[in-house]
Symmetry: C2
Subunit: 80 residues, 2 copies
């Protein structure tokens, strides 16, 4: 089963990488850029047939290893 | 206008970070994990009304700064 985890910093947490990218784009002439925020994506291939059970396990993986729940939000998408 | 850029390594390019995460998950007892690939997401706030024109400009940004077309694929999503 294919599972995608989208991990983003919480909106109130600063994103220095995004700020740097945004500034660089403006420096290159892309004045229309207002802001950039960065995120991470994890594509997991997981054995299992029950989408709900798989999602629950991946949620546990996020809490334990994949994300930092103090400063990050995450969203799990199980593909059919 | 909100634009999301999804950046992934090309399938033939090794992903050591993904491999490490995958191994760590198995070590933690998540034996069902077969593989993990990592990607990056950029959320841009861009001024402009014409979605096609905005997409074209962001494509140029990807080529010039945001992605490495030699080893990465990217996908641009303009939100309404």
């Amino acid at each position: 089963m294919k599972v995608t985890v989208h991990i983003e910093r919480r909106p109130e947490i600063a994103d220095p990488e995004g700020t740097t990218i945004s500034r660089s784009l403006v420096d290159l002439g892309y004045d229309e850029v207002v802001s950039v925020r960065t995120g991470r994506t994890l594509h997991l291939e997981v054995e299992g047939d029950d989408a709900d059970a798989v999602k629950e396990r991946v949620d546990e993986m996020c809490q334990r290893l994949l994300a930092n729940p103090v400063i990050e939000d995450y969203r799990i998408e199980v593909e059919a």
